[in-house]
């Protein structure tokens, strides 16, 4: 039996188990039947193992170049290196849906095994929802529309090889799985929210049970988005990292609503308010992941990432409609039980800032959504063809982002319920001074665009609030627990991880914002045709062309320009290239990037002498501060880990007291 047969059989068996599990979980939740629940658990576990087996079979088929499978023939070639063969699992539509299904099966199994222990009825109902979604995806990949194991009657000698852009950079191994994990894990809070609505629970048990899942999926989405920006920066060769491409928009939308949720959820936890709203945010986040998948995978919008026009479009649209009808229907039906008690608070209270923040996040999300869809609407209504791209989104989203940056500094400094004048003075004196310093720093370093100056000022404002919070937290621990500074700091992160991890996330966001502002405001371009030995000067850097040469590898042919970059302390060899894969009609540009904490020198081979290789046109961009974007993304990830790590157990908390009481050894 070949790997393809094994994978196809595993998926069909998993589909059967998933159907069985759906029924068993529904019965278990309805009749509180322990045996049915046990049966559903087993179905979830084995189902997960089977889908993983299918994914591994596909990886094996790719690694062994089994061209009798259509997917392998289309996305692999004998010359494809092993690494890129294996990660081609997510290089095209069918394989990525297989990966998606495997993650969903894993989440289902996790809930079945772990979730149903603590709160059986709610989790069992959520399990039924998970199983239903898993069944849909298993149906999808066992229909011809997206069957990854579809066979070719006659296996070709060699395949087409992966898309040229997808075999050019190792980040392809990281960025799609991170994003898919983030996307799929949003289904866990969704399933619990739906379960809570079905059972008519007015409380927030669903929210407490899925708090960590919401945080993890949010963090994975965020880090995945930054990794995707890094990938497009390193691969697409235009010297940018974000183009408001539909697939980027599809990823940022659930991240925005998810960020709004992580904050408004605190209002529900502290004040038992915003119940309906939080449910709606969870539903919206999940629905947006499906909408994004639909938009980018059905071929209705043009995108760097859209796979070709595909038959799964109507199926995904049907799924989206089913989810919207179910969740909006449940929300409207149950909203009577979700009434909040009383008004929210004073305008200058933490909860009010969370609300304003939610409004801004909604505006940001809906702008991205409507901006992405507007060309479709306009064409459907009037036949007019128009474009909505970077300039529109920049003009709308940058002011929103600046306002959010401001609230990010204000919110944590305000107490719940409302702030007095004295509180305001205590909390905001230092941050306002920092903001002024930030604005001056921007002007001094030559970052003079208004949006960039505002970003520096607000960034400094937020940093000051975070430093102030840490300083006060450390001082409090030193006074209360007699810890030294280092211990107090690490204990803040360990024992109050949710709060102080959140501040670390805020710091990471500020770093990202500063990197974006700096790189957008101060990027310098130049382009020149050079003969070997000639050079090009931009922003204090000199780029000398040493040679243009042809390089031949089994899987590709390249023309490489050997460049040497000097100046501003840099001395680096860069090799921008034009790479020709047999599968693609046109050569793809592979930039040569000299990365640095101060500037990146980004070089592209734009054209060359095809006969004698005696000249090359080099396009060069000096992009200040862009490396900090990836670092900021990492800080966000670290902050999320601190915030999501389980706090030490209670016994450990009492340890210092015991130590104090015990005689010294």
């Amino acid at each position: 039996m070949s790997a393809g047969d094994l994978g196809a059989a595993a998926l069909r068996a998993a589909l059967f188990l998933s159907l069985w599990g759906t029924g068993a979980a529904i019965y278990a939740a309805w009749r509180r039947d322990a045996r049915a629940l046990h049966s559903a658990r087993i179905a979830a576990g084995i189902g997960f193992a089977l889908v993983v087996l299918a994914a591994l079979s596909m990886m094996f088929a790719l690694a062994t170049h089994d061209f009798s499978i259509l997917y392998v023939a289309e996305n692999n070639a004998r010359e494809t290196p092993l690494f890129y063969s294996v990660i081609s699992l997510w290089a095209a539509l069918e394989g990525s849906i297989l990966l998606w299904t495997a993650i969903l099966a894993g989440a289902t199994a996790f809930i079945a095994v772990r979730g149903t222990v603590a709160i059986p009825r709610l989790a069992t109902t959520a399990l039924a929802v998970m199983f239903a979604m898993l069944t849909f995806f298993l149906l999808l990949i066992t229909t011809p529309a997206a069957d990854p194991f579809a066979r070719l009657a006659l296996a070709p000698d060699n395949g087409n090889g992966p898309n040229a852009l997808l075999q050019n950079h190792p980040l392809m191994a990281l960025h799609p799985p991170l994003l898919y994990l983030g996307y799929v894990l949003t289904s866990v809070p969704f399933a619990y929210a739906i379960a809570s609505l079905i059972l008519g629970e007015g409380g927030d048990r669903w929210l407490v049970a899925t708090r960590r899942f919401a945080l993890i999926s949010w963090a994975l989405l965020g880090v995945g988005i930054v990794a995707g920006a890094w990938w497009s920066y390193a691969v697409l060769g235009w010297g940018g990292y974000w183009a408001w491409d539909p697939v980027e928009n599809a990823a940022i939308m659930p991240w925005l609503t998810s960020t709004a949720y992580l904050h408004s959820v605190m209002v529900e936890e502290k004040r038992s308010l915003l119940r309906t709203w939080n449910l709606a945010l969870v539903v919206a986040t999940f629905a947006l992941t499906i909408l994004g998948t639909f938009l980018t995978r059905s071929g209705v919008v043009n995108s760097v990432h859209s796979f070709s026009l595909s038959a799964i479009g109507p199926l995904l649209l049907g799924y989206l409609v089913a989810i919207l009808v179910l969740s909006v229907g449940l929300l409207l039906w149950r909203s009577g039980r979700l009434r909040d008690a009383g008004p929210i608070g004073a305008p200058l209270s933490r909860e009010a800032i969370f609300l304003f923040q939610n409004v801004l996040f909604m505006a940001a999300t809906l702008t991205v959504l409507l901006g992405t869809l507007y060309p479709l609407v306009a064409e459907a209504i009037s036949g007019a063809q128009l474009s909505i791209g970077g300039p529109y989104f920049d003009r709308v989203e940058i002011p929103l982002a600046l306002a959010l940056l401001f609230l990010m500094g204000v919110g944590p400094q305000l107490p719940w319920h409302g702030a007095s004048r004295a509180t305001l003075e205590r909390q905001f004196t230092a941050p306002i001074v920092a903001a002024a310093a930030g604005a001056v720093a921007a002007l001094v370093t030559g970052t003079t665009a208004l949006a960039a100056v505002l970003t520096y000022a607000l960034g400094a404002f937020v940093i000051a609030t975070v430093v102030q919070e840490f300083a006060r937290g450390v001082r409090a621990r030193r006074t209360l627990h007699g810890e030294d500074g280092v211990a107090a700091f690490s204990n803040l992160l360990r024992r109050s991880g949710r709060r102080y991890g959140g501040y670390v996330v805020h710091l990471g966001i500020v770093v990202v914002a500063l990197a974006v502002a700096t790189s957008q405001a101060r990027t310098v371009d130049a382009e020149r045709t050079l003969a070997p030995g000639e050079s090009l000067q931009v922003a204090g850097y000199t780029v000398r062309l040493d040679a243009v040469r042809a390089v031949s590898e089994p899987q590709r042919e390249s023309i490489v320009a050997d460049l040497v970059v000097t100046g501003n302390g840099a001395n680096q060899d860069l090799r921008p290239a034009l790479v020709q894969y047999p599968s693609s009609a046109q050569a793809v540009g592979s930039p040569g990037i000299g990365a640095g904490l101060r500037d990146d020198v980004y070089t592209i081979l734009a054209a060359y002498d095809q006969r004698t290789l005696s000249w090359a046109t080099i396009r060069m961009r000096v992009i200040p501060g862009v490396s900090w974007l990836w670092l900021g993304g990492a800080v966000v990830g670290i902050g999320a880990v601190i915030a999501g790590a389980p706090p030490p157990r209670r016994r450990v908390v009492r340890m210092p007291i015991a130590e104090v009481a015990a005689p010294a050894k």
């Binding site: 919008v301 109507p314 989206l320 909006v328 479709l376 063809q385 009609a585």
Partner: protein, 175 residues
């Protein structure tokens, strides 16, 4: 209540939009120049034997075809162009090939290899293609004797489409 109705209506609109999107081909882009006077140009012949000005061809039916040797669909459509050229070569129909984004030598070599007997010119800096709103070769424009662009075809063209485009303009001119 108002909020609820608004949410339901908005979601309905969203779903309908997405449904309608299936009827749309994102690669089909119609743009500005059809129905307008053809932008004037004077370009050098690929073989270097002087210039060709569109203005000199007024009163004739002109088929302007943007092509390049690096463009595979151009190779694909070329036999149809050759047949149609032969069919109309002794009439008032002029075929004009505009070489797109490549060196004169490469363009000329391609023209000789493909047996393109009609006039071919070099659009070295791409200005003519930009003024016609060209996305990429092959693209074909039908210009009437009145100097107005009557039709446009994006992508490889076939013989029937070419003949229909030309005959429409000829009958209109005869009337």
């Amino acid at each position: 209540m108002v909020v609820r109705v608004a949410i339901v209506v908005a979601l309905l609109g969203l779903v309908i939009t997405l449904g309608l999107a299936f009827r749309r081909d994102p690669h089909d882009i119609r743009t500005g120049t059809v129905g307008k006077p053809a932008p004037a140009f004077t370009l050098q012949r690929l073989d270097g034997s002087g210039d060709v000005a569109l203005a000199d061809l007024s009163g004739k039916v002109v088929v302007v075809n943007f092509f390049a040797s690096w463009c595979l669909p151009c190779t694909e459509e070329n036999p149809a162009l050759v047949r149609v050229y032969e069919r109309y070569r002794s009439s008032n129909v002029v075929m004009l090939g505009v070489n797109y984004q490549e060196s004169r030598e490469n363009g000329l070599a391609y023209v000789r290899r493909m047996g393109m007997g009609w006039t071919t010119v070099a659009d070295t800096d791409g200005r003519v293609a930009l003024s016609y709103g060209v996305f990429g070769p092959p693209e074909t424009f039908f210009i009437g004797p009145d100097g107005v662009i009557a039709g446009r075809h994006i992508g490889p063209i076939d013989e029937a489409t070419l003949v229909t485009g030309i005959e429409t303009l000829r009958t209109r001119a005869a009337r």
